[in-house]
Amino acid sequence: MNWTFEYSKEILVREFNRLIEGEVLNDHEGYCTFSIKNKNLHDSLKILKERYQFLKLVDVIAYSSPAVTVTHDEIELVFILERPVDCEIIFLKTSFERNEQVADFSTLWQIGDWYLREIFEFFGLSNTAASNRQLLTHDNVKGFLLRKNDTGEVIKAPTYRNAFKISSAVVPSVNSTQQWFSFGPFHSSLDNQFRILMEIKEDRIGASEIEIGYHHLGLEKKFEETNSHGILHLLHRYKCLSGNTLPILWCKTVEEILQIPITDRIAAIRMLYLEIDRICEHLLTINRMLALTANDVALAYMKDVLRMFGEYMYHLGLSYAGRNPHRFGGFYQDIKRETVVFILQSIGKFERKVRQLENQLTKSIQWIDQLKTNEITSKDAMKYGLEGPNLRACGVKYDLRKNAPYYLYDEVEFEIPLGAYGNAYDRYYVRMHEIYESVKIISQILDNIPSGQYFMQSDHSDMTEKDQLNDSELNFKKYDDYYSNGPKLSTKEHFSRIENARGATGIFIKSMGDLRPYRFKLNGPTYKLLASFQEIIRHDNIKRLPLLLRSFDINIHEVDR
């Protein structure tokens, strides 16, 4: 792809202002925020995408405007766009009144359709694309749940969705050769519950549609009623398949909002946790793929590897029964010296075991043949909005750890493994080699782990240290206050992200100087994957569908929330 690019930020601001009447609000932490009128929305998105190569739509966030009255209420939309070549992020803001319609941007990005549906079902903003259907909720929901002045109600009774049917497929008559069938939501080879309704031509998949919402909890609404400490502990519980990334990401977000500086030691330990997580996710994905094949030798090796890895998780306190070690500004307790020594001594053995496993698989003709699914070109991958290992398997070299380094990722040496064809085998191959790179990073971190504090206190909070608790009753009260209410979040709109095992995961937060966030939104890579999944599985063989699904490492909890 042609990604040559010379525009600096100043030129962008000047030119964009000439093309579209708007204004630059502020320029904080490298994020430009453009404020435009809502009639110019489609034009400006098109200009930014085609002329300035902001190819990635990172997220679309809607929230009801804080200055809201009964007669005049506005919904504000924030578009977060990213230029992949230099990882520059800009915010695009518009506001809509309740009776106005959002311009259809699903022609520019495939994910646009799902974002439009989500905005419609939670805020009641209709759109010109005529996709005013539910995405996450169901027929028993009355009202718009995330509006601040609207009290939505949900009747808790079993329900169907009336509006769900295949749009492009013809329902077959008795004599027709077409077949269509539904896959999921309860299926033994489908770990995550969503439903695919597809048309079948001979043994190939034709048109299909995806129904999600079987896991929808209303997490965002719940988090808007919870203080930041509550969110941290809920996210630790909500890890499901995401490991420790979510609590670490939330800590990072809050630290950036409250401007708590962290030491190198904290950054290093967090990197250790993140890399351990990455290995865990990749191993489980490969394990799930292996479970569908009849390769007993590889399964035995896999069991061995997982048992050894379980020991690391246990020593680091990352097993599920363990308590939440993450705090704003560090950790609950420091990493033990014995743990460091144990991991350093045995990580070489662990890598050898993984290599043994790989020898069984990578060159095995049976394995290659089973994973020969449809290929995805790099251009299509960018269009679909793939992220993480799935994108790298298509040959696009994009990794937040390299492109926009956070913590100490610019100081460690590692490589980004790439695939060539973008089929299921390449996805397996990239995951396998990322495990080696993660092992490399872990041994580099632990070899010279920086000294320093493991917990930094913020200047904003009046929290006292644990040693002074017995000195006076006031100290105890302050300590209790901090841990029951959490820190006050200063007025800000902030977007923060890190590289998960599946791709870039981000949290958008709008806070109003309150204990609770005004708007909280999780953004995961699987959301974008599933939005364009019907294009990905089209023309693929039906018998390969379970393996294909597992090779993508789908985590439904990032989608449904």
Binding site: I155, Y214, H215, L217, L241, L284
Partner: protein, 145 residues
Amino acid sequence: MMEKIKRWSTRKNINAIVFGNGCCLHGDLSNDFHDLFAHSKYTLNMVDSPRQANYLFINGIINPLLLNVLLQVYEDMPDFKIVVALGNCASNAGAFNGYNAMTGVEKYIKVDYYLTGCPVDQRAIEHFMANLDDIIFKKSKENKE
């Protein structure tokens, strides 16, 4: 006589399905659970279809859309069915109780045993294993009536 053999076989064999939606147990029964069954006098078979299963383990939060699927799965199971709610989320929505989470599914299907805790304690599962004979006995009595 046939009745006796039938009861004996159902008692010793646990043909189970997990209606998981992503609890701490990674959507599948954890290895601990498997090991525990290995040491006891029962055998645990995970089957693919609800039509072959006598035991239904529910984990994770059930929302109105998923409840529909659960009811279908429950109907598909053969007559002798034992339902176990695994974990806080399945028992009473737990920490994630929100607008879309069902607080307990006992309104719609009969739950025989609750294993609460987040995550479920090992000792709770052991207690469940110890009481399994009683549960089966009670269940078969109910079925007769």
